[in-house]
């Protein structure tokens, strides 16, 4: 089991230059500590216009800063929006390659298509075709990274022959993932040989079913890149405290705040009837969790908050289902004071990580 951090970068109102800067600095301080403690990944989302919920619209800049303050952590785009109105594929290839060089070959590239009308409508993107444009982008990216020259004529974009520079530091190219929120996207991931970057907080049963199908399908995949990245990551909240009741209380506060903010987003399906967005994706799961009493037992049981013993039980359960990596959300709207976030990370590294590490965790060194 690997552990990582997952950043939405949530900033509470009222927004001042100092507050935005403080939140970003807090995140970087957490990342630096997490690197010392033995966490293996830091992921950052690409979101636009999502007030309070996520102010992470330029993740490549944040991830570059993360790479500069860490030595070992892998940095992950979680995810790059593969819709032409958001990002031109040439720019994606160039920026990711640059980040891979600057990080010394520590980049992972998550891909996706955006789930909210707030964002799709903001860029005047057509929700009906985002799956298709994502498919085209993920097939082009490895070629753009690997081929000396590249030309392309597709449905959503085209380019004459040019040399796309720089090339990534990692050879043949960085590992590729896809964000899995809507049911069925785990199949898309498997069929293309991509890692499954789970962003929802579904219960154990649903997760187990998805992982089993992903593992089965990926054996027969036609990878879009030069290699198959068979990995399953999931997302969770983390708040670890010596006292279980305190840990659970703060963890729930964190989770409920995050979920409440998420419910304010306008899912594409809410306003734009489209066969491409049949499912509400991440948002309904969050809504259920946000309403508290409706949250099912498994959702609560699987959360990584409480004392170390409780968190170990939750992580072991995820491990038994075949999850390779859990990425943790540490804060939302800054409801957890920064010193408590840092203490939670240290305690987790000291008391929980050793139960899962193949080698002794670096926690003691950091202490």
């Amino acid at each position: 089991m690997k552990f990582g951090l997952f950043y939405e970068i949530s900033v509470p109102r009222p927004w001042t230059p100092e507050k935005e800067r403080t939140v970003y600095n807090n995140c970087l301080e957490q990342v630096k500590l997490a690197d010392e403690l033995g966490f293996e990944h830091v992921w950052a989302v690409e979101h636009h216009f999502l007030e309070e919920y996520s102010h992470c619209s330029a993740p490549e800049l944040f991830l570059t800063a993360c790479a500069m303050v860490t030595k070992n952590m892998q940095v992950g785009h979680g995810i790059v929006v593969c819709v032409p109105e958001f990002n031109h594929p040439i720019k994606i290839a160039e920026k990711t390659a640059t980040l891979d060089i600057l990080s010394g070959g520590r980049l992972h590239v998550g891909t996706g298509r955006s789930a909210t009308w707030t964002e799709l409508g903001g860029f005047r993107a057509n929700p009906d075709i985002t799956k298709k444009s994502w498919d085209e982008f993920v097939r082009c990216l490895p070629k753009m990274w690997m081929q000396e020259t590249f030309s392309y004529q597709g449905e959503f974009w085209s380019m004459p022959e040019r040399t796309i520079l720089p090339k990534p530091y990692q050879k043949p190219h960085p590992p590729m993932w896809v964000a899995v929120t809507s049911p069925g996207t785990e199949i898309d991931a498997a069929d293309r040989g991509l890692g499954s970057l789970g962003l929802s907080f579904a219960g154990f049963d649903e997760q187990e079913k998805k992982i089993r199908e992903y593992r089965r399908r990926i054996q027969m995949c036609e990878p879009v890149g030069a290699f198959v990245n068979e990995q399953v990551a999931t997302t969770n909240f983390l708040f670890c405290h010596e006292d279980n009741a305190t840990g659970v209380e703060m963890g729930k506060r964190l989770g409920n705040t995050f979920n409440y903010l998420a419910t304010q987003l306008i899912s594409t399906r809410e306003v734009y009837s489209s066969p491409s967005y049949q499912s509400l994706g991440l948002l309904p799961a969050l809504r259920r969790a946000a309403t508290g009493p409706d949250a099912n037992e498994q959702q609560t049981e699987g959360m990584a908050y409480g004392d170390p013993a409780r968190i170990i039980r939750a992580v072991k359960k995820w491990e038994s289902l075949g999850v390779d990596c859990i990425n943790f959300i540490l804060n939302a709207n800054e409801v957890v004071p920064q010193d408590q976030v840092m203490a939670s990370l240290r305690l987790f590294a000291r008391e929980v990580m050793p139960h899962f590490a193949k080698k002794p965790a670096k926690a003691q060194a950091a202490e």
Binding site: P12, R13, F49, E51, E52, W117, T118, G121, G122, T257, N259, Y260, L261, T263, Q264, L265, I266, R269, E270, V271, Y272, S273, S274, P275, Q278, R287, A290, T291, N333
Partner: protein
Amino acid sequence: MPLYGTLDITRQAAHLPTLANLDTEAWALPKAEMMQLLVEVPRSSTDGLLPKAMHPALPSYVILAVTRYPESPVGPFNLAVLRLGSRAGAHPRGFLLGAVASTDAAALELRARWGIPVEQGEVKFLRRHDRIMGTVKKDGRTILDCAMINPQPVAGTDVQYINWVTAANAPLDGTTQPMLIQVDPKYTFYKAERGKPHVSAFDGKAWNAGAITLADPIVATCSTVDTDLPRIRFVMDPLKPVFQGTRRIRESRADE
């Protein structure tokens, strides 16, 4: 935390519909044809239109709906409504700003039973092969002229309708008081279509929508559904966040 509305409905209680009780009987409304246009509106133009208990949708949008009800307890009628996209706590809702019904009986009953701020007027629902049109006139003046252009079939599962919230006076705990009422129809789809929304006339003031101007069209749908206006299940304190001020009036729809 998310923004809240600023409207204090208790200050305009005299202008709100008044319910005799919260025991409204459900209406079955079979084979209704519902055209719905969603349009983004400037956030500043919605200031003061949303109750303090609710969160605004971001971006701001309105739902214009023109529906033909061929059967109802008060006979056939057409209904046009304007709703403001919003949130009641974690749940998407459409706060009802204004409505026009094509018959006096429908207008009277919708006001008295569900607190819909409805007036009588001329409401037309017209289906052509290249478009579906809705027009609304009040006092001889056109206050809405809209259409869904180039209808294309979609699955009913592609269409999502969000529940309504109305503001009304109703008796609760021995006092008739202003409150928010959730109206949550159910839908069984026979047919659904999607097209481009087009609005050629809209008078915001006539819909109690102040200075709302229509900005960016999102999408239009038209569905044939069996629907209803159900019994009232939830009411909300208009001044408190809904997670603090919601009251369950009855357990479920099982008694309908």
